[in-house]
């Protein structure tokens, strides 16, 4: 018994071993290596409205502070705040 993926439909199925590469039954089948499965990329969920906290605390001990925000950074690192553009034209230039 082998795990195969149908290259035409993208469906994975368990098939008899002899199906793989079979001229009639297996032309569209390729061995399916589970290791090749990649998890879907996680969507970034950054809170754009978060405020910068200069003395943020690494509460969960993972070496990062303000995780999930645009201010995420390693502990004891500071980000120099940039002033927001005054108007659209200035930003486009």
């Amino acid at each position: 018994m082998a795990l195969a993926i149908n290259l035409r439909t993208g469906k994975t199925v368990s098939v008899p071993d002899h199906y793989i590469g079979h001229e009639v039954l297996g032309k569209d089948l390729a061995p399916f290596d589970g290791a090749e499965v990649k998890a879907a990329p996680k969507k970034e969920k950054k809170k754009k409205s978060a405020e910068y906290i200069p003395a943020a605390v690494d509460a969960d001990g993972d070496g990062l502070v303000q995780e999930g925000t645009e201010w995420e950074r390693p502990v004891e690192t500071e980000i120099e705040e940039q002033p927001a553009p005054n108007n659209i034209e200035e930003n486009e230039e």
Partner: protein, 360 residues
């Protein structure tokens, strides 16, 4: 001297659910409606079933009874009609009318039987008719070696039954509608195709496939045209009667059935090719189903096309049926003087589409 009534003094008719204002007392105007009542008699095979059966009974005894008591409670009846398939699916024939009336499940009709006149004799006030209320079940394709292709109309009872009711007064119209062309019978041989489509070959969802099987999926690499390899011997494939669930309300006086799970089954006998063959229909069928014990029983759809010459290429807008199966037991058949074969039993997997139209 008493005179026996001989054949063919019987007619079978189908009335739409709204054909009668009061189905227990049909009038001449209603029974002769050309738009709501249809004469299907020429299409129905002689082994039809449309009759009352033994009523259910109650065996309550009174203290004075000195022997068994069996008192009828509600009426039972059964209906099952097989009709010939027309060789020309486009013909405006009785055969095609029969098929179109009973091609879909869950449609309510009144089946009407008149005994005593030939089927096309005009109805008259006082004619005795029997009326059986039904709802359609999934139809069955009936084929066999040397047999005509038949459309098996199957029914569930609605509890509405009256036998030998006199047609009431009214103004006669031109009905029941009877097509001027009876139809051309079509033999099964050479007009059946069967494909195996593994589930991995289904490009959309399985529900989409049973509603409209994709020609591309059926013909894709990995799908197998089994037709040439299948022997008539032991051929069994298709829908059977759905589970009939008794489902009466307190008003019902007759047997009322609700359609339970649809039922279908498959069992095919294949020719076995010689071992030196590594191509061809026999080889393909054997390769598809030979690994019945390695834990990877093939799962897929058996798709059938009936009534179209097998030499006709599969195309969109053709009528087919699709049944999801898992291939189960593999059994060699080496006995007798005929060729060596193997049989595969297929276990149903809960999805079917009967008489559905192919898509690209």
């Amino acid at each position: 001297m008493a005179t026996k009534m001989l054949r063919p003094n019987v007619g079978l008719y189908v009335a739409a659910a709204d054909a009668f204002a009061n189905w227990t007392a049909p009038t001449l105007s209603e029974i002769t409606s050309a738009t709501k009542v249809f004469n299907i008699s020429p299409a129905v095979t002689d082994d039809y079933t449309l009759n009352m059966t033994d009523s259910d009974t109650d065996d309550s005894l009174a203290i004075v009874d000195n022997a068994s008591v069996s008192t009828p409670t509600y009426s039972n009846y059964e209906a099952s009609l097989d009709g010939f398939r027309d060789a020309d699916a486009e013909a405006d024939s009785v055969y095609n009318k029969f098929r179109s009336l009973f091609s879909a499940p869950d449609v309510k009709y009144y089946l009407i039987k008149r005994v005593g006149k030939v089927h096309d004799a005009a109805f008259a006030q006082g004619d005795l008719i029997s009326i059986y209320g039904v709802k359609t079940d999934f139809p069955i394709e009936i084929i066999g070696d040397g047999e005509m292709i038949r459309h098996g109309a199957r029914f569930l009872t609605t509890g509405e039954v009256r036998v030998n009711v006199a047609v009431g007064a009214g103004t006669a119209s031109t009905g029941p509608q009877l097509k001027s062309i009876v139809g051309t019978k079509s033999v099964s041989n050479g007009k059946v195709k069967v494909w195996w489509v593994p589930v991995s070959n289904i490009s959309g969802t399985e529900d989409e496939f049973v509603e409209g099987p994709s020609v591309a999926d059926i013909e894709a690499s990995g799908s197998v045209d089994l037709t040439e390899a299948i022997a008539w011997d032991s051929y069994e494939l298709g829908a059977t009667d759905s589970n009939k669930i008794d489902d009466r309300g307190i008003l019902d006086e007759g047997q009322v059935q609700t359609r339970g799970f649809a039922q279908f089954s498959g069992s095919l006998m294949f020719f076995r090719g010689i071992r030196s063959e590594s191509t061809g229909a026999y080889y393909n069928a054997f390769e598809t189903f030979k690994a019945a014990t390695d834990g990877s029983r093939p799962v897929g759809f058996l798709v059938t096309r009936v009534g179209i010459p097998a030499s006709t290429a599969l195309d969109e807008d053709q009528e087919v049926s699709a049944y999801k199966f898992i291939a189960d037991a593999f059994m060699d058949n080496t006995e007798g003087e005929d060729s060596v074969k193997f049989m595969v039993n297929f276990a149903p997997q809960g999805k079917l589409g009967v008489n559905v139209t192919t898509v690209a």
